[in-house]
């Protein structure tokens, strides 16, 4: 049990990697605040309670600053502190540049980039007051290499790296580490609509010969939240099977 007594907020915790991470963190002894726009995420709380874990669900939207403040307040009022924030919430609205609607560009920026800023700004003061904390942002290999049809998504994921490195400098002296995880091609609901032909190509470009799982990524969140990573700050950790860009 590596997170005993820790309080963790995970945004976008209702599905995919976020859900996997919420369950994993709870199994490792953390009290987990699951934040999601989708009320279905509440089911994950039940799942966690089934094995004796502690969790609450907060319905919230990272694009809304009041909602982020409420999320932080709920964590403190329920569990007394916030040790870990995982900015996991993210969406895609793929289209090639010439066909990309402005609304789809703005929406992805609002959730992935500004949402990460909103949630962190709501939570960081509590961590500063405690003199400790772990912030885990979610970037993507797409933010490092670009990706066909993902102008908006790639821009947000590169932006997350810039914020991560800046916050690592600003918050380090307060005892808070800030790191980013950059998953490669991971099999989740997000990739369900990807044609098999493309998935096959992705496997071909991955030396380990398979797509990643939500579990592969959740394990890295756990690692960055654990004592083992105490001196890791400002890093971008790729979990991509050795992907050849």
């Amino acid at each position: 049990m590596r997170l005993v007594g820790k309080v963790a907020i995970i945004t976008g915790a209702g599905r995919g990697i976020g859900r996997e991470a919420a369950v994993l963190f709870a199994r490792e002894g953390a009290k987990v605040v699951l934040a999601d726009v989708d009320p279905q995420a509440e089911k994950v709380v039940g799942e966690i309670e089934e094995f004796g874990g502690e969790a609450i669900f907060v319905r919230g939207d990272v694009t809304n600053r009041d909602s982020c403040a409420a999320m932080a307040a709920a964590a403190v009022s329920s569990f007394g502190r916030i040790d870990i924030l995982v900015n996991n919430a993210g969406i895609t609205r793929d289209a090639q540049l010439v066909k990309l609607a402005e609304s789809d560009f703005d929406r992805v920026i609002a959730v992935n980039l500004k949402g990460t800023f909103n949630a962190t700004q709501a939570v960081a003061p509590q961590m500063v007051e405690q003199g400790s904390g772990r912030i885990i942002n979610v970037s993507s290999v797409v933010g490092l290499y670009g990706n066909f049809g993902q102008t908006n998504y790639a821009a947000t994921k590169a932006g997350v790296i810039g914020m991560t490195k800046t916050w690592a400098r600003e918050l380090g002296r307060k005892g808070i580490t800030v790191n980013a995880v950059a998953p490669g091609f991971i099999q989740t609901e997000m990739t369900e609509s990807v044609p098999e032909k493309v998935l096959e190509m992705m496997r071909g470009r991955t030396p380990l010969g398979r797509l990643g799982t939500a579990c592969d990524v959740a394990n890295i969140y756990l690692f960055l939240a654990s004592d083992d990573a105490a001196y890791v700050n400002g890093a971008v950790v790729c979990v991509d099977g050795g992907l050849i860009p």
Binding site: L24, P207, Y231
Partner: protein, 255 residues
């Protein structure tokens, strides 16, 4: 497929070789692995010290063995691996921790010997051990190799041209090897520590240490145990999708 929600984790690594395992970070790595039930072969140029560490770890039914190894000598590395093959069925993990800092000296004053010594231990040694590890592991279903780079391999380090060059080279060796041997189920990753409380740090100039601390956002040096924690993680099943990566625990010094 392995799910996070399944019962207690089992530490899959059973046998490990740690070069430079008798002092500093290598010693902490040997200890951390041993505490998880791994049989550790502690290889060091200083056999007496390696033996002391092995004795300290070999308790409560745990196995730890010392061997003398100068990683810069290719035939000696091959012979040591030959011996190990006689002692265990397979090696799950090789940690290439052996390294020397070398003298602080500017290029015009650096002798051939100073240059060769640092490259021989840090780069040649890593190569020799990787080669023997791959030759063995590809026949036993795979394994893990963890190389030691340094923040000096990520950023320029004036006065330590040889050290910086050797550690930068270890990164490309790691990335290239990771792609070459992924098909054998061998994962190769590198750890690039920042400034860590070890005998190597103690040997550095006090003013330099002070300045480094000032430039480190976390405002402290790392501990060998923190680096050992990373190695334990990289050797665990949780890091199964990691290969060709460089993890740099440096307190934010290099971002």
């Amino acid at each position: 497929m392995k799910q996070a929600a399944d019962g207690p984790r089992v530490y899959a690594c059973r046998t490990a070789l740690v070069t430079g395992g008798a002092s500093g970070i290598g010693r902490a790595v040997s200890k951390a692995l041993s505490e998880r039930g791994v049989r550790v072969f502690i290889a060091d140029i200083d056999l007496a010290r390696a033996t002391d560490v092995a004795k300290e770890l070999a308790k409560d039914g745990r196995r730890a063995e010392a061997l003398r190894l100068d990683v810069s000598a290719g035939p000696q590395v091959a012979a040591a691996f030959g011996d190990l093959r006689g002692q265990c069925e397979g090696l799950d993990l090789v940690v290439n921790g052996a390294a020397v800092l070398g003298d602080t000296v500017s290029i015009e004053d650096m002798t051939d010997e100073q240059w060769r010594r640092v490259l021989a231990v840090n780069l040649d040694g890593t190569f020799y051990c990787c080669r023997e590890a791959v030759r063995w592991m590809r026949g036993t279903g795979g394994g893990r190799i963890i190389n030691f780079s340094s923040v000096a391999g990520l950023m320029p380090t004036p006065g330590a041209l040889h050290y910086s060059a050797s550690k930068g080279a270890v990164i490309q060796l790691t990335k290239t090897l990771a792609r070459e041997v992924a098909r054998y189920n061998i994962r190769v990753n590198a750890v690039a520590p920042g400034y860590i409380q070890t005998p190597m740090l103690d040997a550095m100039d006090a003013a330099f240490r002070e300045q480094t601390l000032h430039r480190t956002p976390l405002k402290r040096f790392g501990t060998p145990e923190e680096i050992a924690g990373l190695v334990v993680f990289l050797a665990s099943p949780e890091a199964d999708f990691f290969t060709g990566q460089v993890l740099s625990p440096n307190g934010g010094l290099v971002i």
